[in-house]
Subunit: 542 residues, 2 copies
């Protein structure tokens, strides 16, 4: 027997309708590419999103056609979020930090039909437009009078002329909530980039879950600064959760430097900000240099990569800002865990609370987690056992767009590629990447743990631990080390340095001194390249 409740598809258009009707005068403030501050309201976003929808109809775009953006966080990007998905098209947020060849590959793979770009990225589009065969319309996200006369891009139109010609009246269509709404490609360190294809349903459930007090805790009393880019997994869903709750939004545009971000926070009375550690590092540096203080910021969520403990401590102790450590993936829309405390932690000492806060956090409702060993056997949640982390839930992918990468699920679970522990309270902590963990004699050794000890040695500038094939133990860890300029340390010194700091069998078998460790574009160590460089290396006893 079915329940007798109203049947209503969960659609992204309902978010902007709601924000217009219930929070019409709540502000959206953007620092523009031009450097000035633009401000308007949800009422304006809604009207202009409807113009976008009419403009797309005018181009005769079909249902699910892809509309790409190459843009910073700003109000026009927000209008595209709602206008594109709301009208039944798929918003494809391209990452402008990729190599132009990769952008071309991705745009062709996605079969993008329209490309809207911020003027910062005009040079990229000038360089690639002729190779983006499926794109019929290029839109420069600028005022009509800012459009360059001879961009060399055929038919280039300014965003304002494009939507200005359209009516602000539009009836959002209704359709299956499982329809695709947006897509985002993973950076793809190996093989071709692969895309997560989100649905209206997954986006809406994620928006509800993300706004909960145990996740990002968003309300109509918040002023939210998403520093995390809107081209990076929908800015962690903040544009959707903000519209759902009527929170004021503040967008930084291209100005991510410490001074600009700090000024936005102060001038716009931001209560909540979200971003990756590097941005906060710059901002804290700017504040320390100038002896500055926050007057309104209450909490910040940090994700994208592990947050250094010193940063959590500094926000908390020096500035009175609560830091929420978070973990997610492009394949997870992206929220998986957020590190919020429980009732039982409230009476703990600040130091004990900090121990909890350093973990990646608890799974939010809607995300199931498990850790498994090499045989796929589930491991206990004791905070010690670590294994491959798998996840399941309605905002986690079932497969990649166009079936790239084959069938990713294992018995219905998505393997995250991370190795983690989970403690009895459900707090997850990532200990390594699955491909980096060293499997020695049936036991796993965290490469990150091995590196952290080496990094604590005064002569070590950088350290990378990788596994080397061993006839008896399968793999044994070695550590590649870059010495600090002018500093000296021998192999034996460093091996001895591990004494008492870890179990004997987790101590690396050897030290290899190198001039540099290969780094990727985002500053992460590329261990695959390091392994190639050390292809001829042999373990001492192998």
């Amino acid at each position: 027997m079915l329940g007798l409740m109203q049947s209503q598809q969960l659609l992204i258009s309902s978010l902007i309708d709601f924000a217009e009707r219930h929070h019409g005068d709540a502000e959206i403030v953007s620092r523009r590419v031009e450097g000035d501050i633009h401000r308007y309201t949800y009422k304006d976003v809604a009207a202009r999103a409807r113009r976008v929808a009419n403009a797309l109809d005018g181009l005769k775009l079909g249902f699910s056609d892809r509309v790409a953006t190459l843009a910073w966080n700003g109000y026009r990007h927000l209008e595209l979020y709602f206008g594109v998905s709301g009208s039944g098209r798929v918003l494809h947020t391209l990452n402008p930090r990729l190599h132009p060849d990769q952008i071309v590959w991705i745009a062709n793979h996605a079969e993008d039909t329209v490309l809207c770009f911020d003027m910062s990225f005009l040079p990229i589009v000038q360089a690639i437009h002729s190779r983006c065969g499926t794109v019929k319309t290029f839109v420069a996200m600028c005022d009509a009078d800012k459009l360059p006369a001879d961009s060399g891009i055929p038919g280039l139109v300014s965003y304002e002329a494009w939507i200005g010609a359209q009516s602000a009246t539009y009836k959002w269509p209704s359709f299956d909530e499982n329809s695709a709404s947006s897509m985002c490609y993973t950076s793809g360190t190996t093989g071709n980039p692969k895309a997560a294809l989100y649905s209206h349903r997954s986006t809406m459930l994620h928006a509800w879950a993300g706004a909960l007090p145990d996740a990002l805790c968003m309300s109509a009393r918040d002023t939210v600064l998403p520093v995390v880019p809107m081209f990076h997994v929908n800015a962690w869903g903040l544009p959707y959760s903000a519209a759902m709750t009527g929170a004021k939004l503040v967008f930084p545009g291209p100005a991510m430097d410490g001074k600009s971000i700090f000024e936005l926070i102060e001038n716009e009375k931001v209560s909540f900000a979200a971003g990756v550690p590097t941005v906060w590092q710059m901002m804290l540096g700017h504040m320390q240099a100038g002896g500055l203080r926050f007057s309104t910021l209450k909490r910040t969520v940090i994700g994208g990569s592990a947050c250094p403990p010193a940063m959590i401590t500094s926000f908390n102790d020096d500035y009175g800002v609560e830091v929420l450590h978070a973990w997610g993936m492009t394949e997870m829309s992206p929220l998986g865990t957020v590190c919020t405390l429980k009732n039982k932690h409230l009476a703990l000492s600040p130091a004990e609370k900090m121990k909890v806060r350093l973990k990646q956090g608890r799974g939010i409702f809607g995300v199931e987690m498990k850790i498994v060993d090499d045989e796929g056997k589930e491991l206990p949640w004791d905070g010690k056992a670590y294994g491959d982390l798998l996840v399941k839930g309605p905002w986690i992918i079932s497969e990649y767009y166009k079936g790239e990468g084959g069938a990713p699920l294992v018995d219905g679970w998505f393997p995250t590629g991370d190795v983690a522990t989970i403690d009895p309270d459900g707090y997850m902590q990532i200990t390594d990447r699955s491909k980096d963990v060293i499997k020695s004699g049936g036991e796993w050794i965290s490469s990150i743990d091995v590196e952290n000890i080496a990094m604590a040695h005064p002569a070590v500038a950088m350290a990378a631990c990788i596994g080397m094939k061993h006839p008896k133990w399968d793999e044994r860890p070695i550590i590649a080390v870059v010495k600090k300029p002018g500093a000296e340390v021998t192999r034996d010194d460093l091996i001895k340095f591990y004494d008492g700091k870890t179990a004997k069998w987790q101590i690396p078998d050897d030290v290899v001194f190198v001039d540099a460790i290969p780094l990727g574009g985002t500053g992460k160590m590329q261990k695959s390249k390091l392994r190639e460089q050390l292809a001829d290396y042999k373990l001492p006893d192998a």
Copy 2:
């Protein structure tokens, strides 16, 4: 094109699975019928809910079969919430405050197959069991040794013996999320009671929406006391939102007196409580008498009927507790609006904030609202125009169980039966019931407004405004008044008392002095009965 996200039905069983896994040691504390305090954890709830499911399987109950409860707020009731719905049956929460004949009518109409009852209600069940033809199994929610030897109820079994014989292992079935999960009958002041039939989907979406910071704001740091009965629209969804967030739950059992409730709040460190005004009145009275203070209570949500302003002020000013005014209906799962402030209100004076707080609140995302005039034309959100309030959304009924009451929706909208204003910020305020509003010359007059003025006269103890047929104006208001003992006031005095307090055409045409105004079981004025009593009344100029 469909998105490529995992397909997962939204099912109530996932809530208790999650609570067990992520918040296994969070407490559930119950005052039992016996008066003692029982405490255990979500881990225990989950295991015992699985025993319930096995017990229902053992009775060969089919999918969607109805399992009724006649019970207070307590741990066994919570187990039934998850065990019954989780296993695919429909939880039917009977209201023990109804007349036994009405309970019989409802149990037969619902075709309940099992009836689980608290020992407080043994006399009711003894009186009605022979007339509940579809009920095959009666379960007394008590320990095995508390089962009366000769209850007269054939096959009566104790809950503990019933589930104790079962395994705690059970695999929750998966099925269509639109399947019925639970049902609740409206009190039905006219005609037969009608039932809202909730689905797993509607319950889950409501649980997410209800836990948001702008609704009930529930987290793993909360200790929640639902004083609102679990037989009254699922205790406003609190059991579901609590499991979703891992909040500690505290249940009052049958002890709703001020002393018992206050003690529970203090002893269990309750941070959030929910209930109807009468309960809080008793508690505040107890506190005032004893000069008591709260040490942990931060906020309370008040709904069910309009909250007296003095109560909101007292909680806020005298006790530092935030009061959230809320409005909903059985037909709405029940949450419709909650009165939380916006960014723009934060700088207001306490008096101005209080003005906002007195309204029923803003629609939460997922509930669409509109107000319409007699012709169904939508009225502006200006805080002045008032009309029939209609609502729409995924946790609002489309029709009643078995089609009772015909097709309730009007163009897809559910008419609430309330008359309301909505201000430009979306705050809704109920001004009257649709059936009580007086329609005079095409304009509407709020019976409540007319009554409130009369009630301000020192000689008036109680006043009820009703509309009387009028040849020219369709209807004109008159006011029926009960004088205070020993007080005197004439018709003309009272009519004159309205001067300057309202528009001339809203002043009642006549005053009728009566000895008493008929009241219903819950203390509400029964204007239909008053109209019957005044059937022979003629307006002065009609």
